[in-house]
Protein backbone atom coordinates (compact mmCIF):
# COMPACT_ATOMS: atom_id res chain seq x y z
CA UNK A 1 0.00 0.00 0.00
CA UNK A 2 1.92 2.94 -1.27
CA UNK A 3 1.36 6.39 -2.58
CA UNK A 4 1.88 4.91 -6.03
CA UNK A 5 -1.15 2.67 -5.47
CA UNK A 6 -3.27 5.71 -4.68
CA UNK A 7 -2.01 7.59 -7.72
CA UNK A 8 -2.46 4.58 -9.95
CA UNK A 9 -6.06 4.27 -8.80
CA UNK A 10 -6.57 8.00 -9.33
CA UNK A 11 -5.22 7.78 -12.85
CA UNK A 12 -7.60 4.97 -13.70
CA UNK A 13 -10.52 6.84 -12.15
CA UNK A 14 -9.69 9.96 -14.13
CA UNK A 15 -9.44 8.03 -17.37
CA UNK A 16 -12.76 6.28 -16.75
CA UNK A 17 -14.49 9.57 -15.90
CA UNK A 18 -13.21 11.19 -19.07
CA UNK A 19 -14.93 8.53 -21.17
CA UNK A 20 -18.67 8.08 -21.40
CA UNK A 21 -19.46 9.84 -18.08
CA UNK A 22 -18.04 13.02 -19.60
CA UNK A 23 -20.67 13.02 -22.33
CA UNK A 24 -23.51 11.89 -20.10
CA UNK A 25 -22.76 14.37 -17.33
CA UNK A 26 -22.27 17.29 -19.66
CA UNK A 27 -25.50 16.32 -21.41
CA UNK A 28 -27.58 15.66 -18.33
CA UNK A 29 -26.38 18.71 -16.41
CA UNK A 30 -26.81 20.91 -19.48
CA UNK A 31 -30.43 19.78 -19.51
CA UNK A 32 -30.68 20.56 -15.80
CA UNK A 33 -29.05 23.97 -16.30
CA UNK A 34 -31.54 24.83 -19.04
CA UNK A 35 -34.40 23.73 -16.78
CA UNK A 36 -32.99 25.85 -13.95
CA UNK A 37 -32.86 28.87 -16.24
CA UNK A 38 -36.46 28.35 -17.34
CA UNK A 39 -37.50 27.92 -13.70
CA UNK A 40 -36.14 31.35 -12.83
CA UNK A 41 -33.62 30.09 -10.27
CA UNK A 42 -30.23 31.85 -10.22
CA UNK A 43 -27.12 30.23 -11.69
CA UNK A 44 -25.35 30.32 -8.33
CA UNK A 45 -28.13 28.41 -6.64
CA UNK A 46 -28.47 25.97 -9.52
CA UNK A 47 -24.73 25.25 -9.37
CA UNK A 48 -24.79 24.98 -5.59
CA UNK A 49 -27.54 22.37 -5.89
CA UNK A 50 -25.49 20.47 -8.45
CA UNK A 51 -22.51 20.28 -6.10
CA UNK A 52 -24.32 19.70 -2.81
CA UNK A 53 -27.41 17.73 -3.81
CA UNK A 54 -25.35 15.90 -6.43
CA UNK A 55 -28.13 13.72 -7.74
CA UNK A 56 -29.86 14.72 -10.95
CA UNK A 57 -33.29 13.15 -10.30
CA UNK A 58 -33.48 14.97 -6.97
CA UNK A 59 -32.32 18.23 -8.52
CA UNK A 60 -34.96 18.00 -11.24
CA UNK A 61 -37.65 17.13 -8.69
CA UNK A 62 -36.60 20.17 -6.65
CA UNK A 63 -36.88 22.49 -9.66
CA UNK A 64 -40.19 21.07 -10.86
CA UNK A 65 -41.79 21.27 -7.42
CA UNK A 66 -40.38 24.68 -6.58
CA UNK A 67 -41.62 25.93 -9.90
CA UNK A 68 -45.06 24.48 -9.21
CA UNK A 69 -45.19 26.32 -5.89
CA UNK A 70 -44.94 23.23 -3.71
CA UNK A 71 -44.21 23.73 -0.01
CA UNK A 72 -40.86 22.92 1.59
CA UNK A 73 -42.05 19.67 3.15
CA UNK A 74 -43.16 18.35 -0.23
CA UNK A 75 -39.83 19.32 -1.77
CA UNK A 76 -37.88 17.73 1.08
CA UNK A 77 -39.83 14.46 0.84
CA UNK A 78 -39.62 14.30 -2.96
CA UNK A 79 -35.88 15.00 -3.07
CA UNK A 80 -35.27 12.73 -0.10
CA UNK A 81 -37.08 9.85 -1.77
CA UNK A 82 -35.39 10.47 -5.13
CA UNK A 83 -31.97 10.49 -3.47
CA UNK A 84 -32.47 7.92 -0.71
CA UNK A 85 -30.34 5.57 -2.80
CA UNK A 86 -27.32 7.35 -1.35
CA UNK A 87 -27.93 5.59 1.95
CA UNK A 88 -27.48 1.97 0.81
CA UNK A 89 -24.93 3.04 -1.79
CA UNK A 90 -22.77 4.63 0.91
CA UNK A 91 -23.12 1.54 3.07
CA UNK A 92 -22.08 -0.65 0.15
CA UNK A 93 -19.19 1.58 -0.94
CA UNK A 94 -17.38 2.87 2.14
CA UNK A 95 -16.36 -0.50 3.64
CA UNK A 96 -14.51 -1.30 0.41
CA UNK A 97 -12.15 1.61 1.18
CA UNK A 98 -11.01 -0.03 4.41
CA UNK A 99 -9.31 2.51 6.69
CA UNK A 100 -8.00 4.52 3.73
CA UNK A 101 -11.08 6.74 3.46
CA UNK A 102 -9.94 8.42 6.68
CA UNK A 103 -12.05 9.25 9.73
CA UNK A 104 -15.62 10.37 9.85
CA UNK A 105 -14.85 13.53 7.85
CA UNK A 106 -13.07 11.55 5.15
CA UNK A 107 -15.95 9.09 4.92
CA UNK A 108 -18.47 11.90 4.76
CA UNK A 109 -16.43 13.43 1.96
CA UNK A 110 -16.41 10.16 0.02
CA UNK A 111 -20.15 9.79 0.51
CA UNK A 112 -20.83 13.39 -0.51
CA UNK A 113 -18.90 13.14 -3.79
CA UNK A 114 -20.45 9.76 -4.62
CA UNK A 115 -22.96 9.68 -7.45
CA UNK A 116 -24.82 6.88 -9.19
CA UNK A 117 -22.14 6.97 -11.89
CA UNK A 118 -19.14 6.88 -9.56
CA UNK A 119 -20.77 4.12 -7.52
CA UNK A 120 -21.70 2.02 -10.54
CA UNK A 121 -18.22 2.41 -12.06
CA UNK A 122 -16.32 1.54 -8.91
CA UNK A 123 -18.53 -1.52 -8.39
CA UNK A 124 -17.61 -2.85 -11.82
CA UNK A 125 -15.17 -5.78 -11.98
CA UNK A 126 -12.73 -3.60 -13.93
CA UNK A 127 -12.30 -1.09 -11.06
CA UNK A 128 -9.33 -1.44 -8.67
CA UNK A 129 -9.79 -4.02 -5.93
CA UNK A 130 -7.16 -2.82 -3.45
CA UNK A 131 -8.68 -0.40 -0.91
CA UNK A 132 -6.17 2.43 -1.27
CA UNK A 133 -6.36 2.33 -5.06
CA UNK A 134 -10.15 2.42 -4.79
CA UNK A 135 -9.97 5.62 -2.75
CA UNK A 136 -7.79 7.24 -5.41
CA UNK A 137 -10.06 5.95 -8.14
CA UNK A 138 -13.20 7.31 -6.50
CA UNK A 139 -11.83 10.74 -5.64
CA UNK A 140 -10.42 11.31 -9.12
CA UNK A 141 -13.52 9.98 -10.84
CA UNK A 142 -15.87 12.06 -8.70
CA UNK A 143 -13.76 15.23 -8.88
CA UNK A 144 -13.85 15.15 -12.66
CA UNK A 145 -17.56 14.37 -12.67
CA UNK A 146 -18.29 17.29 -10.35
CA UNK A 147 -16.24 19.63 -12.51
CA UNK A 148 -18.04 18.47 -15.63
CA UNK A 149 -21.39 18.83 -13.88
CA UNK A 150 -20.68 22.44 -12.97
CA UNK A 151 -19.58 23.18 -16.54
CA UNK A 152 -22.71 21.46 -17.88
CA UNK A 153 -25.00 23.34 -15.49
CA UNK A 154 -23.46 26.67 -16.49
CA UNK A 155 -23.52 25.89 -20.22
CA UNK A 156 -27.15 24.78 -20.04
CA UNK A 157 -28.11 27.82 -18.04
CA UNK A 158 -26.69 30.29 -20.53
CA UNK A 159 -27.62 28.26 -23.59
CA UNK A 160 -31.17 27.47 -22.51
CA UNK A 161 -32.85 29.90 -24.85
CA UNK A 162 -31.00 28.59 -27.88
CA UNK A 163 -31.59 24.89 -27.24
CA UNK A 164 -34.07 23.30 -29.66
CA UNK A 165 -36.79 21.39 -27.76
CA UNK A 166 -35.80 17.90 -29.01
CA UNK A 167 -32.22 18.50 -27.88
CA UNK A 168 -33.28 19.93 -24.52
CA UNK A 169 -35.47 16.88 -23.90
CA UNK A 170 -32.74 14.51 -25.10
CA UNK A 171 -30.36 16.03 -22.57
CA UNK A 172 -32.82 15.15 -19.81
CA UNK A 173 -33.19 11.65 -21.26
CA UNK A 174 -29.47 10.86 -21.54
CA UNK A 175 -29.05 10.29 -17.81
CA UNK A 176 -31.80 7.66 -17.69
CA UNK A 177 -30.33 5.96 -20.73
CA UNK A 178 -26.85 5.84 -19.17
CA UNK A 179 -28.22 4.39 -15.95
CA UNK A 180 -30.11 1.76 -17.93
CA UNK A 181 -26.98 0.61 -19.77
CA UNK A 182 -24.93 0.54 -16.57
CA UNK A 183 -27.54 -1.74 -15.01
CA UNK A 184 -27.91 -4.12 -17.95
CA UNK A 185 -24.11 -4.49 -17.89
CA UNK A 186 -24.17 -6.03 -14.39
CA UNK A 187 -23.15 -9.69 -14.41
CA UNK A 188 -23.18 -10.73 -10.74
CA UNK A 189 -26.22 -12.96 -10.25
CA UNK A 190 -27.54 -11.44 -7.02
CA UNK A 191 -27.20 -7.89 -8.29
CA UNK A 192 -28.86 -8.86 -11.56
CA UNK A 193 -31.79 -10.47 -9.74
CA UNK A 194 -32.08 -7.33 -7.57
CA UNK A 195 -32.22 -5.18 -10.70
CA UNK A 196 -34.83 -7.30 -12.47
CA UNK A 197 -36.92 -7.47 -9.30
CA UNK A 198 -36.43 -3.74 -8.81
CA UNK A 199 -37.84 -3.03 -12.25
CA UNK A 200 -40.79 -5.39 -11.73
CA UNK A 201 -41.61 -3.99 -8.28
CA UNK A 202 -40.61 -0.43 -9.13
CA UNK A 203 -43.37 0.07 -11.68
CA UNK A 204 -46.37 -0.55 -9.41
CA UNK A 205 -44.57 0.79 -6.32
CA UNK A 206 -43.74 4.12 -7.95
CA UNK A 207 -47.21 4.30 -9.46
CA UNK A 208 -49.23 3.57 -6.33
CA UNK A 209 -46.78 4.73 -3.65
CA UNK A 210 -45.10 7.74 -5.26
CA UNK A 211 -43.60 8.95 -1.97
CA UNK A 212 -42.24 5.63 -0.74
CA UNK A 213 -42.07 3.54 -3.89
CA UNK A 214 -38.28 3.55 -4.06
CA UNK A 215 -37.89 2.35 -0.47
CA UNK A 216 -40.34 -0.51 -1.08
CA UNK A 217 -38.56 -1.33 -4.33
CA UNK A 218 -35.15 -1.30 -2.68
CA UNK A 219 -36.12 -3.53 0.23
CA UNK A 220 -38.02 -6.11 -1.84
CA UNK A 221 -35.63 -6.13 -4.80
CA UNK A 222 -32.58 -6.06 -2.54
CA UNK A 223 -33.81 -8.94 -0.42
CA UNK A 224 -34.67 -11.11 -3.42
CA UNK A 225 -31.28 -10.32 -4.94
CA UNK A 226 -29.53 -11.07 -1.65
CA UNK A 227 -31.17 -14.51 -1.52
CA UNK A 228 -30.00 -15.18 -5.07
CA UNK A 229 -26.44 -13.97 -4.43
CA UNK A 230 -23.69 -16.33 -5.59
CA UNK A 231 -21.41 -16.77 -2.54
CA UNK A 232 -18.23 -16.97 -4.61
CA UNK A 233 -18.55 -13.40 -5.86
CA UNK A 234 -18.91 -10.78 -3.19
CA UNK A 235 -18.17 -7.15 -2.45
CA UNK A 236 -16.68 -4.84 -5.05
CA UNK A 237 -16.77 -7.44 -7.79
CA UNK A 238 -20.56 -7.15 -8.02
Amino acid sequence: MTQATLLHGAKRGALDALGIPLIVLLGGMTGYGALAHDSGIGLGLATLATVLVWGLPGQIAMLELENAGADLLAITIAVGMANMRFFPMSVALLPTFGRHAGGIIGRMFQSQIMSASSWAFIMRPTAPVEARARVGYHVAFAAICLTLAVIGTTAGYYGAASLPRPLALALLFVNACFLLLLLVDIRQRGALVAIVTGIAVGLPANLYLPDFGLIVTGVIGGTVGFLAWTPAKTGPSA
Binding site: L45, I75, G218, G221, G235
Partner: protein
Protein backbone atom coordinates in the same frame (compact mmCIF):
# COMPACT_ATOMS: atom_id res chain seq x y z
CA UNK B 1 -43.66 30.78 -9.95
CA UNK B 2 -42.68 29.72 -6.48
CA UNK B 3 -45.08 29.61 -3.59
CA UNK B 4 -42.20 30.40 -1.26
CA UNK B 5 -41.38 33.96 -2.30
CA UNK B 6 -39.30 35.94 -1.59
CA UNK B 7 -36.73 33.27 -0.60
CA UNK B 8 -38.36 30.27 -2.25
CA UNK B 9 -35.47 29.09 -4.43
CA UNK B 10 -32.93 29.42 -1.62
CA UNK B 11 -35.08 27.47 0.80
CA UNK B 12 -35.88 24.86 -1.84
CA UNK B 13 -32.18 24.28 -2.50
CA UNK B 14 -31.46 24.13 1.23
CA UNK B 15 -34.23 21.57 1.71
CA UNK B 16 -32.92 19.50 -1.21
CA UNK B 17 -29.35 19.63 0.11
CA UNK B 18 -30.40 18.54 3.60
CA UNK B 19 -32.66 15.80 2.23
CA UNK B 20 -29.75 14.35 0.25
CA UNK B 21 -27.10 14.90 2.89
CA UNK B 22 -29.19 13.13 5.52
CA UNK B 23 -29.18 9.87 3.56
CA UNK B 24 -25.47 10.13 2.89
CA UNK B 25 -24.70 10.79 6.57
CA UNK B 26 -26.88 7.87 7.61
CA UNK B 27 -24.98 5.69 5.19
CA UNK B 28 -21.65 6.76 6.70
CA UNK B 29 -22.85 5.90 10.19
CA UNK B 30 -24.06 2.45 9.12
CA UNK B 31 -21.00 1.76 7.00
CA UNK B 32 -18.75 2.07 10.07
CA UNK B 33 -20.40 -0.99 11.56
CA UNK B 34 -20.48 -3.28 8.57
CA UNK B 35 -18.13 -6.05 7.51
CA UNK B 36 -17.45 -5.75 3.74
CA UNK B 37 -17.38 -9.53 3.48
CA UNK B 38 -20.55 -10.11 5.45
CA UNK B 39 -24.18 -10.68 4.51
CA UNK B 40 -25.38 -7.23 5.62
CA UNK B 41 -22.97 -5.61 3.17
CA UNK B 42 -24.28 -7.86 0.38
CA UNK B 43 -27.87 -7.01 1.26
CA UNK B 44 -27.17 -3.29 1.11
CA UNK B 45 -25.41 -3.75 -2.23
CA UNK B 46 -28.43 -5.56 -3.62
CA UNK B 47 -30.77 -2.89 -2.22
CA UNK B 48 -28.67 -0.24 -3.99
CA UNK B 49 -29.04 -1.98 -7.31
CA UNK B 50 -32.77 -2.48 -6.76
CA UNK B 51 -33.26 1.19 -5.89
CA UNK B 52 -31.33 2.25 -8.99
CA UNK B 53 -33.61 -0.05 -11.02
CA UNK B 54 -36.65 1.49 -9.34
CA UNK B 55 -35.31 4.95 -10.07
CA UNK B 56 -34.82 3.92 -13.67
CA UNK B 57 -38.47 2.89 -14.02
CA UNK B 58 -39.43 6.24 -12.58
CA UNK B 59 -37.21 8.13 -15.03
CA UNK B 60 -38.27 6.13 -18.08
CA UNK B 61 -41.87 5.17 -17.40
CA UNK B 62 -43.13 7.70 -14.85
CA UNK B 63 -41.07 10.86 -15.35
CA UNK B 64 -42.11 14.23 -14.02
CA UNK B 65 -41.87 17.55 -15.85
CA UNK B 66 -41.06 17.97 -19.50
CA UNK B 67 -40.06 14.36 -20.15
CA UNK B 68 -43.59 13.27 -19.27
CA UNK B 69 -44.81 15.20 -22.31
CA UNK B 70 -42.94 12.77 -24.56
CA UNK B 71 -44.86 9.60 -25.39
CA UNK B 72 -44.07 6.43 -23.46
CA UNK B 73 -43.46 4.56 -26.70
CA UNK B 74 -40.74 7.04 -27.67
CA UNK B 75 -39.02 6.80 -24.28
CA UNK B 76 -39.14 3.01 -24.13
CA UNK B 77 -38.41 2.57 -27.84
CA UNK B 78 -35.27 4.70 -27.66
CA UNK B 79 -34.15 2.94 -24.48
CA UNK B 80 -34.71 -0.50 -26.04
CA UNK B 81 -32.76 0.54 -29.12
CA UNK B 82 -29.92 1.71 -26.89
CA UNK B 83 -29.82 -1.64 -25.09
CA UNK B 84 -29.84 -3.55 -28.39
CA UNK B 85 -27.03 -1.44 -29.82
CA UNK B 86 -25.10 -1.70 -26.54
CA UNK B 87 -25.00 -5.49 -26.77
CA UNK B 88 -24.54 -5.53 -30.55
CA UNK B 89 -21.49 -3.29 -30.17
CA UNK B 90 -19.83 -5.55 -27.61
CA UNK B 91 -21.17 -3.65 -24.57
CA UNK B 92 -19.97 -0.24 -25.72
CA UNK B 93 -21.59 2.32 -23.38
CA UNK B 94 -20.77 5.30 -25.55
CA UNK B 95 -22.35 3.91 -28.70
CA UNK B 96 -25.41 2.68 -26.79
CA UNK B 97 -26.04 6.02 -25.11
CA UNK B 98 -25.43 8.05 -28.26
CA UNK B 99 -27.74 5.92 -30.41
CA UNK B 100 -30.52 5.89 -27.81
CA UNK B 101 -30.32 9.61 -27.16
CA UNK B 102 -30.07 10.42 -30.86
CA UNK B 103 -33.08 8.23 -31.63
CA UNK B 104 -35.00 9.89 -28.81
CA UNK B 105 -34.23 13.39 -30.10
CA UNK B 106 -35.11 12.42 -33.66
CA UNK B 107 -38.41 10.88 -32.58
CA UNK B 108 -39.31 13.99 -30.55
CA UNK B 109 -38.50 16.19 -33.53
CA UNK B 110 -40.35 14.22 -36.18
CA UNK B 111 -43.26 12.49 -34.47
Amino acid sequence: MSGLEPHGPELAVLAAVLASFGWRALGVVFANRIDPDGPVFRWFTCCSYAILAGLLTRLLVLPIGELSEVGLSIRLGAAALGVAVFFASGRNLLIGVLVATGAFAAAVAWL
